[in-house]
């Protein structure tokens, strides 16, 4: 069964890029999920599961009835409701070198956000891009809906 799955993945080209180079270090982890929920790293979608690592450049997706919750390295927490999609464009939590950034593109759906240490240390570090402007989250709790 497992062999079949891997063979299928290789045939469909899903596994190829994943084997090419090691993934960058995790910046957060999936801590809650309700199906259907996916993490997409380098174009490869995987069903999200609790404990799964999140890397910069990944997309978060949920379908009808799905939900997905992430905790980042600095303690920032976010969750997507159903039919949502977001992409993590940048994340840096390195106060000693003054590098602090969380930049998320919210494509559609609903988001609940609870900022962590990052937003406390730098007022402009936590930003969310929408199709209608960029939100700067100054150490505030936020709800966001994007789309019709």
């Amino acid at each position: 069964m497992r062999t079949t799955t891997i063979a299928t993945l290789m045939l469909t080209g899903l596994l190829g890029p994943a084997l090419a180079a090691p993934l960058p270090p995790p910046v957060g982890y999936v801590m809650t999920e309700r199906e259907p929920a996916y993490l997409v790293a380098r174009g490869n979608p995987t069903e999200a599961r609790v404990g799964q690592a999140l890397v910069v450049g990944s997309a978060l997706q949920t379908g009808r009835g799905g939900a997905l919750g992430i905790t980042f390295e600095d303690g920032t927490r976010l969750a997507l409701g159903p039919d949502s999609e977001a992409e993590l464009l940048e994340y840096r939590f390195d106060p000693a070198n003054d590098r602090l950034a969380l930049y998320l593109r919210m494509r559609r759906g609903t988001l609940s956000l609870e900022p962590g240490r990052l937003a406390r240390l730098h007022p402009d570090a936590l930003r969310i891009e929408t199709g209608r402007g960029v939100i700067s989250v100054q150490d505030a709790r936020m709800l966001l809906k994007v789309g019709p």
Binding site: A96, S112, I135, L143, L144, V146
Partner: protein, 200 residues
């Protein structure tokens, strides 16, 4: 379906009133403790700031507008996302003695509690972060913080933290850039010389 009708009507009325259609909105939520913070939406027509908890800002292709969500709108839109929020992180501050190689007696006593919390919370990622006060050069403090963090990480490993189902044991230094007690530069402050353990 029937629940959608009044909302669609409201949106239509808003669109007619303002001459444009909303493509979503953001809401500032009250803080659980401390200041509420603020949200700034930067757009082509300028920045828009939300500072009053409970207020919302409608996203729009032209000019965003402020409104007060009501009629169960937040419940309809955000119940699922709110329910999926992971639990808050836990932070523990540990202090080393004068020599810098042993935990203070009180911190040592807290270590067992910390390990129980890790076990209870697993799967959990653990960060061990060294901090200093602002006495001395920042680069030296960055290295000092790392030594402190490594010392505590070694103590946690010696007590089997890696067998408790953790996702990661991350060791970092924030040097003098993440103070517990705010001070001017070149200030000795024992409370800032600490190692923070973050369960996330």
């Amino acid at each position: 379906m029937t629940r959608g009708v009044p909302r669609a009507g409201l949106l239509l009325a808003l669109a007619l009133l303002t001459g444009c259609a909303s493509s979503g909105y953001l809401v500032l939520q009250p803080a659980e403790q401390g200041p509420d913070g603020s949200l700034t939406l930067e757009t082509a027509s300028g920045p828009y700031v939300l500072q009053t908890p409970g207020q919302a800002l409608a996203l729009s292709a032209s000019r965003p507008w402020v409104f007060q969500p009501g009629g169960g709108q937040l419940e309809r839109d955000f119940t699922a996302a709110r329910a999926a929020l992971p639990p808050p992180v836990e932070r523990y501050q540990l202090y080393l003695d004068e020599s810098g190689s042993h935990l203070s007696e009180r911190s040592l006593a807290n270590l067992d509690y910390l390990l129980r919390r890790i076990q209870r919370r697993a799967p959990v990622a653990v960060s061990v972060i060294g901090h200093t006060d602002r006495l001395g050069p920042a680069e030296v403090n960055a290295r000092m913080g790392l030594l402190r963090a490594q010392r505590v990480a070694d103590l946690l490993r010696a007590r089997g933290v890696e067998r408790l189902g953790i996702l990661e044991l991350q060791v970092r230094s924030h040097g003098e850039r993440d103070l517990l007690v705010t001070t001017p530069d070149a200030t000795a402050e024992p409370r800032n010389r600490r190692v923070e353990v973050l369960l996330r």
